[in-house]
Amino acid sequence: MDQNSDTEPVVADVVDDAVPNATDARFKRNIIIDNPTIQRAQKRIATLIIVVPAIATLMAFVLAFWIPPSVTDLVVLAIMYVATTLGVTAGFHRLFAHRSYKAVAPLRAALAILGCMSAQGTLVYWVATHRRHHQFSEGEGDPHSPYTNDGKTLSKLQGLWHSHLGWMLDSQMTNTVMFAKDLIRDPLIARINNLYGLWVLLGLVIPAVIGGLAAGAWSGALTGLLWGGFVRMFLAHHAMWTSGSTAHIIGTRPFATKDKSTNNGLLAIPNLGEAWHNNHHAFPSSALFGLHWWQIDIGGLFIRGCEKVGLVTDIRKPSREMIADKMARSDSHTGFGVW
């Protein structure tokens, strides 16, 4: 793999450079959409995405005193949690944002749909925002840094809030044409992306139908919807959002990167490997986030499993030498850190 410097552009081949001569000078673009109407619309949608699953989760726990979830509901919750989170980490993040491996079309489609079901924004928007995060990590232009927002330094508490979810409510929209042109161009992906609302809805209907059929009663449909739908969504959201927040605050930093990303082995279990975030910023185009056998990376295991059965090829990962070399140049950064 051709990455061994800290300045390696993450996705240089797909992100238009802001420098005019990179493309036709007439298409010089802003990285953000500076438009108050659009920002208000985005804020409304983001509020719904954050608040609705949280309230429904609270309702599910209160209701459990009278109608507890069935075993089926909890199994559906677990399966859908893992499937949709794989859609985000193995799909949105490692495949689509970083193009760190190649996958056959049915797997690409499945991961795109599952990621959309997680209700973390459309695929194209998610990818565009994430590429912007890498290009401007911890600097002006980073959509969700715990240290800075729009040129202002954040206090610790402000930073935690902003980087976890506050950014969705007050940051400017990413220009998807600038950051995710490759996906807008891909007819299959564009079609799936544009049906985002349908996938989110299906992610709620499927557990409700299974719960209802298994119980043979409407109350089963309700607990199915609440647990497999909203509680699953709530848990998956917050597990994934830690890669913006705590993964830039709490943990170890074996590699010196230009940002303050960290590794956190405990959070890597629920977010299927995302929490090896310092590794990820050190080697952004690696499909594997766990770089040692003991760094449990379920997303990476999934990708390697798919390679074994022929669904995936060209997995990019750093060699042992590259890892050792980068670590040797980072000796002042070892040890557990908070902020």
């Binding site: 298409f27 959409i33 194209v124 998807t176 044409v177 564009a190």
Partner: protein
Amino acid sequence: MQHEIIESVTRVQAWMVSYLGNLLDIPHENVDVTLAFDQYGLDSAATVAFTSDLGHWLETKLDSRLMVDHNSIQAVSSYVGEAFGTAVPA
């Protein structure tokens, strides 16, 4: 005057055709100016970005609903060309 407006409309249309051709990586002569933006697979975020970049070129801020209210290159360029007239860059 009429002549100037037609020229402005043509310039906006040419800019939009090359922008969309560049975005979708298709030859400019294959860009159908009458086709609705969603037929090209553009979602609302992409049309908003398109609008923002068009505004950047015109050195103004355009209404974010521009490409919803005028749903093709032909419709947008007629509207923008008439509204901006000689202010459209050459």
